[in-house]
Assembly symmetry: C2
Homo-oligomer: 274 residues x 2
């Protein structure tokens, strides 16, 4: 592994493409390998042992591809499997939880932090525990809200639909009433709803976990002197190789929605044999 090695990103599915988008924004000169474990999505309903096993398989796959950094785009895997992943990785590993938790505490002015995510993520208390393990966390008030309809609405592409607005108003009302000034988007799909969320909650700081994980990745690579040099072809999109573990129904359409540009077809791989 060296400066021109790719960065590896894995997620239980395709939601991690929103994290990849942020990585491309902050690390535009890098190459990427994206692995979506679509055969076994979602991880959220599985036991921690199984999630650790799947995460280690994803990790081994990326390491064999020669990555210089691994970004765990999956909130569930970041929450329960980060130590297991690090135990088998000889490259740095960045998860979703800690960078977002730190950013949320830093961003709040009134100490009221909201966390929104899938039912599984909220039930896992991963972000709450992430925040509670940090300095000054005793001075903040946390309020968590599960927003289970957001993922299907995003996958339907109804990012600004009247229905989505109505759903968001309903979900966000406890956060609005509580005068929460900072909200962690605890799900990889939610950044696509940001235009709507910003409209509904003006002045609230939304913490995009993928963005903060990307900044942490930039910092980590810079400190290790592992950033690749500036490209001279600015219009060219970064070189990204996509892998999935199951037939990628609608992958191209979804990738276009998440990344904003057309991607190559993903390659189907079997990682359970690794």
């Amino acid at each position: 592994m060296n400066k021109v090695s790719p960065i590896g990103v894995f997620d239980s599915g395709i939601g991690g493409l929103s994290v990849l988008k942020q990585l491309m924004r902050f690390l535009p000169n890098e190459k990427f390998i994206y692995l979506g474990d679509t055969a076994r999505v979602p991880y959220g309903n599985r036991t921690p042992e199984i999630i650790r096993q799947y995460s280690k398989e994803c990790t081994k796959f990326l390491i064999e591809k020669g990555v210089k950094l691994i970004v765990v785009a999956c909130n569930t895997a970041s929450s329960v499997a980060l130590d297991a992943i690090r135990s088998i990785s000889d490259v740095p590993v960045i998860g979703m939880i800690q960078p977002a938790a730190i950013a949320a505490i830093r961003a709040t002015n009134n100490g009221k932090i909201g966390i929104i995510g899938t039912r599984a993520t909220i039930a896992s208390k991963s972000y709450s525990n992430g925040i509670l393990g940090l300095p000054d966390s005793n001075k903040v008030e946390l309020i968590s809200v599960a927003c289970p309809l957001f993922v299907p609405l995003v996958e339907e592409g109804w990012l600004r639909h009247a229905v989505t607005r109505q759903v968001a108003v309903e979900y966000l009302s406890p956060l609005i009433e509580n005068k929460t000034d900072t909200i962690i988007l605890g799900c990889t799909h939610y950044p696509l709803l940001l235009p709507l969320l910003n409209e509904l909650m003006l002045g609230v700081t939304f913490i995009d976990s993928g963005e903060h994980a990307s900044v942490a990745s930039l910092r980590q690579l810079a400190e290790l002197d592992l950033l690749s040099g500036e490209s001279t072809e600015l219009l060219k999109k970064p070189e990204i190789k996509f892998y999935v573990t199951d037939v990628p129904t609608q992958f191209i359409d979804t990738a276009l929605r998440f990344l904003g540009f057309a991607t190559e077809h993903p390659e189907i791989v079997d990682i359970s044999s690794i």
Copy 2:
């Protein structure tokens, strides 16, 4: 100068506080010195020679304060005075133009890039020239629109007012008609209009110059091993010392609007004698 030295930021006025906000987001462990040359704002209408002289005075002031990096938050100074500033600075200097120009070319998918700014910034062609000096710039189409009412509307605090919406629709219509997919916010005040702009132009990537200058600053400091360590007091806002060159009418109110939290009163300094 060393890791715990502050980062210096200067602007012709208070607009640069939006750049400071981005710097705090990406470099939350740093100390900052902000200098607003409010006695001589705006720089946009002055001759390049005068702008260079003023910029050098700001630079000398910050260097005497022992900064480890200088961020030129002023678009006009970034445009015409960067070489003059660098010629007298022994620390790295980051301007507004190049990081935004690179980000815009990278972000566009259809090659249509819009630039919005004050009359002076648009007339100066600083962003157009910044883009035209880059690789692949011959493959993009630029369209520049001056939006002179945006600064007074932001200073009035009418960020989502019906009037501001009407003004924005009028200003942006050539960009909407042209199907521009990427727009550079070429003025430090404009990021405050982002919720409105995102609502009016869904799917367009807005390039916040301050954000990209901040990422460039993070990268530069990391590469020079000059990042300060992680703080253990996450709730505490970064240590910022504010200087202005004239009586700071409404500074506290404006700073609150730009930064999102209450700041200390600025100190008035005379930098023309430096």
